[in-house]
């Protein structure tokens, strides 16, 4: 076989049958994925793998660190498998460009959340911990992937749950929360988009002195309030409150000829939903410690952000 054959597609007979088999297997897998995504459930081979892990036939897989494994095991948690949910979502086109983009974020995360939950059910889990929101920035036109990855766990002595909780906190924090009667149950998303047209007055100009731009300010406040209202609705639907927000907001001005610009505002808030009765106490004493180490101390190093999906949007924002 000459090196040129690689490009012309000419193959020698034995390689051809091997290649064909691989190709067949790949397309069969592809077809399974396609029908599974259409039917809104994981493909059979994923379910089989998760069931095998769930019944202890194959080794468990966990994103936990050894410390987390130690704490999880001492509290009766058993890791099962890494589970994930992905939805690559293309934003539709709308007259007021941006509305579909903004609202698509809520839809994209909701789909990913549903998929990771189905995988957890297949593994016979009670909870998924250490769930991280991720996205690959490929910039493929008007689309974005919404991915959730986490570790499915079961709690000794409990039957598999038909509705496993999706906890966006690491195993270490999950145990601490559950002990205090706080159950992280899922993700809540609130997204809002609006436009402001015809702002003839209060159009910023060079002769203007110090002045709060109230019309624009109220418009922007309304966008944000709507996003937060939707966040609360989304949390209430899951029976909980929201902790640990990440938020992303943009107020843009689109210039037009001989007219004031149109202002576009969008705001997305995402947080962890926790289910807890009001006034539940926190057990145990808290001791204050001072680390006597100079330089970087493991006690004073910050924990990295849990969600990478919206991190880079804050580049123009400064502290005070």
């Amino acid at each position: 076989m000459s090196w040129l054959d690689k490009f012309t597609g000419a193959k020698s007979p034995p390689a051809a049958s091997e290649g064909d088999r691989a190709q067949e297997a790949a397309s069969a897998r592809g077809a399974q994925w396609e029908s599974a995504l259409k039917a809104d459930r994981p493909p059979d081979f994923v379910i089989d793998r998760l069931r095998a892990v769930g019944s202890g036939k194959t080794p468990w897989v966990a994103t936990m660190t050894p410390v987390e494994l130690h704490l999880a095991r001492s509290h009766g948690l058993r890791p099962l498998s890494t589970v994930s949910g992905t939805c690559w979502y293309r934003f539709g086109w709308s007259l007021t460009e941006g509305r579909k983009w903004t609202e698509g974020h809520a839809a994209g995360w909701a789909a990913a959340l549903d998929r990771i939950r189905q995988e957890a059910i297949a593994a016979g889990a009670n909870a998924v911990v250490d769930v991280q929101m991720r996205t690959i920035r490929q910039g493929l036109g008007d689309s974005m992937d919404f991915t959730l990855v986490g570790t499915a766990v079961k709690i000794e002595g409990l039957p598999p749950s038909p509705d496993p909780v999706i906890a966006t906190v690491p195993a270490l924090e999950f145990v601490r929360l559950v002990e205090s009667g706080i159950v992280p149950v899922g993700l809540a998303v609130g997204a809002s988009f609006d436009t402001l047209d015809g702002l003839y007055f209060q159009q910023p100009n060079v002769f203007m002195g110090n002045l709060p731009l109230t019309t624009l300010g109220q418009f922007w406040e309304r966008v944000r309030r709507n996003a937060h209202a939707r966040l609360r609705e989304s949390a209430a639907a899951q029976g909980g409150s929201v902790l640990a927000h990440v938020q992303f907001g943009q107020l843009l001005a689109r210039e037009r000829d001989k007219q004031p610009p149109i202002y576009l505002g969008r705001h997305i808030v995402i947080g962890t939903v926790v289910d807890t009765p009001a006034g539940e106490g926190v057990k145990g004493d808290i001791h204050t410690v001072v680390d006597m180490r100079d330089g970087a101390s493991p006690l004073t190093m910050g924990t990295p952000s849990r969600h990478s999906a919206y991190g880079e949007f804050h580049e123009h924002e400064g502290a005070i």
Binding site: R176, G240, S241, V242, L243, G271, R293, G318, I320
Partner: protein, 273 residues
């Protein structure tokens, strides 16, 4: 705590997949981290909701003499008024919710890409209430207190015998004089202090701090904790600097605690590097 029995009953129920009837009226949203939430609860408070206030502000214009070290009063006022508007809107959201106070307040300034004279000021924090309805934690004049302390720092502050009153701030935008050409020539090759620069920085910082202290005195505070003295330029000419002082005004909870009554932190040496 080595078994699942340490988990409260209602948490176990949820992990079995049984959903409760929800918690009507008991839903809050907060940007607290897990640890902050636990410590605020430990301190005897419950979050009730996120409080946000914002203000989109157009900054006026002011000329400064090339060789004059002076405060840019127009900009000082703008920066202060805009923050104060954002803060007061946040406070009114808090009192609408019936909060005793707002902790974890963050003030941010965002530049708008489409107009360099327009800045967005945001004040954001979590409204909290005392879990047993104690009314003694409110701020000045029965209003909600405000504080930029995190949930962790809030717990620690209460244990030191203080309670937060108000987030206090002072701002001073200052034009630092350019050196005259003659002075520059005279200094060529010599080690000298640039006294006009020293004096300008000193003065601006001093003004910002005085203003913050003045606010604390008005709030009836005993002191100001966690002060951050911040220098920044919001896309202004290179010789214009804002000095911004911000901190939490505090007062003893009842009377000042005896030093013996405050638990010492444990000294540890972490060896896992």
């Amino acid at each position: 705590m080595a078994d699942a029995a340490a988990i409260p009953e209602h948490a176990l129920e949820r992990l079995k997949g049984l959903r409760g009837e929800g918690r009507p009226g008991g839903i809050f949203t907060s940007d607290f981290s897990v640890n902050e939430f636990l410590l605020v609860r430990k301190a005897g408070f419950e979050p009730i909701g996120l409080c946000v206030g914002s203000c989109i502000y157009h900054l006026g214009f002011q000329m400064a003499g090339w060789t004059a070290s002076q405060e840019m009063t127009v900009l000082s006022q703008a920066m202060y008024e805009a923050r104060e508007l954002a803060m007061s809107r946040m406070r009114s959201e808090a009192s609408d919710m019936g909060a005793d106070g707002v902790v974890g307040v963050r003030l941010t300034v965002k530049r708008m890409e489409w107009d360099s004279k327009v800045l967005e000021f945001v004040a954001i924090g979590t409204g909290i209430v005392h879990a047993k309805g104690h009314q003694g934690f409110k701020g000045p004049a029965g209003q909600a207190f405000t504080s930029d302390l995190s949930g962790q720092d809030f717990w620690t502050l209460l244990h030191a015998g203080y309670r937060p009153l108000e987030l206090v701030m002072g701002s001073c935008v200052y034009h630092v004089a350019h050196q005259s050409v003659m002075k520059g020539l005279a200094n060529t090759g010599r080690n000298v202090e640039l006294t006009n620069f020293s004096q300008a920085l000193y003065d601006a910082r001093e003004i910002a701090m005085e203003r913050m202290q003045q606010e604390a005195a008005q709030a009836g505070a005993e002191g100001v904790v966690g002060v951050d003295l911040h220098e920044g330029s919001h896309n202004w000419a290179p010789h214009i600097i804002e000095f911004f002082a911000v901190g939490t005004a505090v007062i003893p909870i009842t009377t000042e605690l005896d030093a013996d009554a405050i638990p010492d932190p444990m000294l540890v040496l972490s060896v896992n590097s």
